[in-house]
Amino acid sequence: MTIEIRNISKSYGDSAVLHNVDLKIESGELVSLLGPSGSGKTTLLRVIAGIEQADQGSGPVMFDGVDVSGVDLGKRGIGFVFQHYALFKHMSVFENIAFGLRAKPRAERPKEAQIEEKVHELLDLIQLRSFELRFPSQLSGGQRQRVALARALAVEPRVLLLDEPFGALDATVRRELRRWLRRLHDTIHVTTIFVTHDQEEALEVSDRVAVMNAGCIEQFAAPQQVYENPANAFVFKFLGNYNLFHGRSGENAFVRPHDIVIQRTAESAGPDSRQAIVSHIGFSGPVVRIELERDDKSHVDVEVSAPAFHDLDLRRGETVWFAPRVQHDFALDYVI
């Protein structure tokens, strides 16, 4: 199902959270809304879900070209997954998943045998078949979120909306679950919108990423596009660490730490290279973080792969030359 929203604004009292947002999502896409806290990403998701109403004068929220802005939350055909699971504490896993089916009007309600079949099918999908009689309190965080997802999928939603679904989980489980989500999406192909503040998560999982800042979408493109050709300084800064070099003529160069090449000699480093002293070396597994100190006491962060670091064989206090491999130039009127 395609989702299109036009000119959506939302404010709480005097503070505006969304400013004239437009977004068009293709059928079957997995899109993430990425942004720092307070950027309006969750609000946008809740407006699409129908939990929040957009301000007067906003444009429509369209599902498959039909305006649903006046349709109730329960009738939009959405599946919503909350950050803190929102599982029904007093119901078993089975009953949680069956809830949406049992809540259907009598005429559409499936028979008990069909409900059971459907729930078991979903339990297999989330690989928790043997947990059907447990209560949410007896599950781990990752298991809970999978149950929440199965519960949302039980009513066969036209769109799946996930609000920081892995935000409350620890790093290992997060990584595991987001790959699982991607595989799940590849099997069921339901249009999915995914809110996150984790760049890695957004880039790894989504077909397209909408980077949000202060109630606006700064860029909406494929992960590689967003990362390699950021639309502006905000997108660039938000997607990872960076070094900022001020040129003499006022231009600013943004360079990722891994886009800096370190050489032992000025000749091999090329004409643009600058001199610095190695002030710190930090190992973090596959990547080695090197901090360089320049004459003006400013610091430059560099990341090299462990094998490359081995070849360089740097020591603290050593003088080296460095040059950017790739750099992005943005006007500096942008401040986070």
Partner: protein, 344 residues
Amino acid sequence: MSEVPIRQPAGRTAAARAVPQASPIVRRALIATAVLFLTIFIVVPLANVFTQAFSKGIEGYLAVFWPPQPPDGATLTFSQKRRFAEASAQAARTWSSIGMTAAVAAVVLPLNVVFGLAAAWATTKFNFRGRTLLTTLIDLPFSVSPVVAGLVFVLLLGRNGIFGDWATHLSWPDVFSLHWVGFADGAWPLAFSRRFTGVIFTPLAIVLASIFVTFPFVARSLTPLMESQGSDEELAALSLGASGWRTFFKITLPNVKWALLYGVILCTARAFGEFGAVSVVSGHVDSNDTMPLRIEKLWNEYNNQAAFTVASALALLAVATLVAKALVEWKSARDAERTEVGKS
């Protein structure tokens, strides 16, 4: 009470947050003070209530509720007859007060449950202008003297009150007079045989005053829980297509059931025991007496043993509420443990 061992981390510096370790003397002194206080102000008076109530033995105690009847066929002097009749009338009044107390509680409780749920829902799940004011108003009966509350109703609905004209002519049926009249007069076979006129100095005023003094209890016991639970579960249910009612009965209510029951118990205890507010609006009419009012009348009539007997019945009700309250607390703590969804 067993002591809880406090394990202190190794290398803890003196500047670190110290756990106050009272000396045994201080600890014993504090416990003794608390026990002494409870003994003087709770245990002794309560024991006295029962001692006085049983001062004429078990028969005397039971006679307050079931007065002795003259033996069949006995010839009685006039004064004997009078004494038997008087005892019967007193017992009837006592029973009427028990009935009134139960009836008032039966009306007040459901209203409080509905009001409490609505108020707690409104103040915790919505954000609106004047929310804080509403929360404060809910607490008002805690800080207002019940006598003042009673007077407010008299001044509003009494003969010279603001709504006095309307209220004094208001006619409403006595629900206990509902009886079968058959279908002769129409399709509806039930009718009331008695009606009340006016509000103040009738049971309706007792109900109003009781509602006033009891309404914070349910709302107050629900609010903190509903606040901490947020509305995600309700939103999840709604997003799955559940209706508002289904969401309420299947999700909200089970989540707050113990807090609700706790509030109901506190509310019952207060409804049973309220004196000041109902005293003002009862007009000291015998038929309006609740148990506390009845106790006062017996006391004023120098019928101490009977007064203490009814008081002991009320005290037993209080003990029963206390036990119920403890049970609910224990059950809800156990339930919370079982269904606690920790945030990992």
